[in-house]
């Protein structure tokens, strides 16, 4: 008691107070029970601005325990500002183990990517979501979009995809590509590239989505049908890349373009840094990998 009295007061485990955690936990259970439905919740102020992942942070804080191993990625990378600061936040307020290895994590908080390494049962993927409502840019009124979900009236979304085809000859939506969950709710998969949409379908991992500013939580349970919207004559397609990763030579992965100079030089590298590093450690080399460069110098 005397030591406790002399210590500076600390935050509750995982930052949030227990009443807030209960409120978020109840919303998560409802979200799991109604896959793809956006459950309103009383989003709190977090020690970071809205838009920096406050929804994902609140979901993670509500589920995390001392035995968890946390991985945080931002556009696939473990070492970018958002990922580093959120990882440090949970190390500070929850004293949990952290990792960059997808396979070792029990909770993966993500901003806009699904790791390349297949997820397994027992893992939970927490998405940071900016705009949870897939119909928002088509219909700005919450009262109307809510009614559209209630009536399963998704014609407008198909019109939008059709207009893409009419204008561009193909569905031009490349990220936040709308999906239908378990044949009922149309859901925004958060601004992940459509490349990742197929990974959501029948995933063994639980997927939770938190939108802090918009105050919504939704979920996709494991082994749930997640189908990207399309047309029979314009089936859903994911992005393809002409060249492998310049560092690890990986194909069939999502690549980021990196500008190298002001003369048009560029390279394509894995967006998933953990996946890329793992492959390089196993001896895979792309054409711009360091070992391949050295002889030329």
């Amino acid at each position: 008691m005397t030591t406790a009295a002399t210590e500076i007061a600390t935050y509750n485990f995982a930052y949030l107070d227990e009443q807030t955690k209960r409120m978020i936990r109840r919303a998560i259970l409802k979200g799991i029970a109604i896959p793809g439905y956006q459950v309103p919740f009383a989003s709190r102020e977090m020690p970071m601005p809205y838009g920096w992942g406050t929804g994902g942070v609140q979901v993670t804080a509500a589920i995390i325990g001392p035995d968890d191993v946390l991985k945080v990625i931002d556009q696939g990378a473990d070492d970018t500002t958002n990922a580093v600061s959120i990882r440090a936040f949970f190390q500070k307020v929850a004293d949990v183990a952290v990792t960059t290895e997808t396979a070792k994590a029990t909770i993966i908080q993500t901003r806009h990517r699904i790791p390349e390494h297949p997820l397994t049962a027992g893992q939970t993927l927490v998405y940071q979501v900016p705009i949870p409502e897939p119909l928002r840019f088509l219909e700005p009124r919450e009262t109307e979009t809510r009614k559209m979900h209630a009536l399963e009236e998704y014609g407008l979304m198909h019109v939008k995809l059709y207009e893409d085809i009419a204008r561009h000859g193909r569905i031009a939506t490349t990220y936040a590509y709308p999906v239908k969950v378990e044949g009922r709710y149309v859901m925004d998969p958060s601004p992940t590239p459509k490349f990742d949409n197929p990974k959501m379908h029948m995933s063994p991992a639980l997927q939770l989505f938190g939108a802090g500013r918009e105050k919504r939580i939704y979920a996709v349970p494991p082994f749930t049908r997640v189908v990207s919207l399309d047309f029979e004559d314009h089936p859903f397609e994911i992005q393809t890349f002409d060249q492998p990763c310049a560092l690890c030579g990986a194909e069939q992965v999502y690549l980021d373009e990196v500008i190298l100079d002001d003369k048009g030089g560029h390279m394509f590298v894995c967006s998933d840094t953990d996946h890329c590093e793992k492959r390089q450690a196993c001896g895979h080399r792309g054409h711009l990998a360091p070992e391949a460069l050295e002889p030329a110098q």
Partner: protein
């Protein structure tokens, strides 16, 4: 009613116990048909059992009106939950966010509870059913989200005409109630999306 019955028996480590119980319930809800093991973390007064009591402590507070079945309505358990969670009593089952059921066999029909609305299907009652076992009853073969191929649980006791009632509950989707089955050794869940396969020839 002994005063100490009402005060003793809460979580010994409220923050971590609640997290443990929640993760068990979350995993059970995400994977219907699986039994998530749970140690005895709370000691509520009879007829409320340890697991159901722990789930209630984890999820209930002043924001969640509770409905009690007849056995719990007249017991010290009601005061115990009032003391530990601050949750108000629901006047009718349709007002309840959670329903605590010590004797599922005599439960009123599921349609009496809040079903949510088409716009807000989350505004429905979650029933915490206290069952003796999740393996000794009539096997229920389950399918739906969270289940790769099929899953089986055999809870006892369940409400009367449960298979028929559950079919009707599923037909109301996205409205409907969700069940948390609290057995002495763990929890299993039946979210409204889970279907019970009936395999008569």
């Amino acid at each position: 009613m002994d005063q100490m019955d009402v005060i003793d028996g809460g979580f010994s480590a409220p923050v971590f116990n609640a997290q443990t119980v929640f993760r068990a319930v979350m995993d059970a809800m995400a994977r219907p048909g699986t039994v998530q093991q749970l140690a005895e973390l709370a000691q509520p007064p009879a007829p409320l059992a340890a697991t159901a009591g722990a789930v209630a402590l984890t999820l209930c507070d002043h924001d969640t009106p509770l409905w009690f079945d007849a056995g719990l309505q007249v017991s010290a358990a009601k005061s115990w939950l009032g003391f530990h969670t601050g949750a108000p009593s629901a006047a009718t089952p349709a007002d309840a966010h959670f329903a605590l059921v010590a004797n599922p066999a005599n439960l009123i029909s599921l349609e009496n509870f809040a079903q949510g609305t088409q716009e807000y299907p989350d505004r429905s009652t979650t029933l915490i059913l206290q069952v003796e076992s999740l393996t000794d009853g009539t096997p229920l073969h389950l399918e739906g989200p969270g289940i790769e191929k099929s899953a089986t649980i055999a809870p006892t006791s369940l409400p009367r005409h449960f298979v028929e009632q559950w079919k009707q509950n599923g037909a109301r989707f996205p409205r409907g109630v969700d069940l948390i089955l609290a057995a002495p050794d763990g929890v299993a869940c039946l979210p409204r999306t889970t279907r019970i396969k009936t395999t008569e020839a």
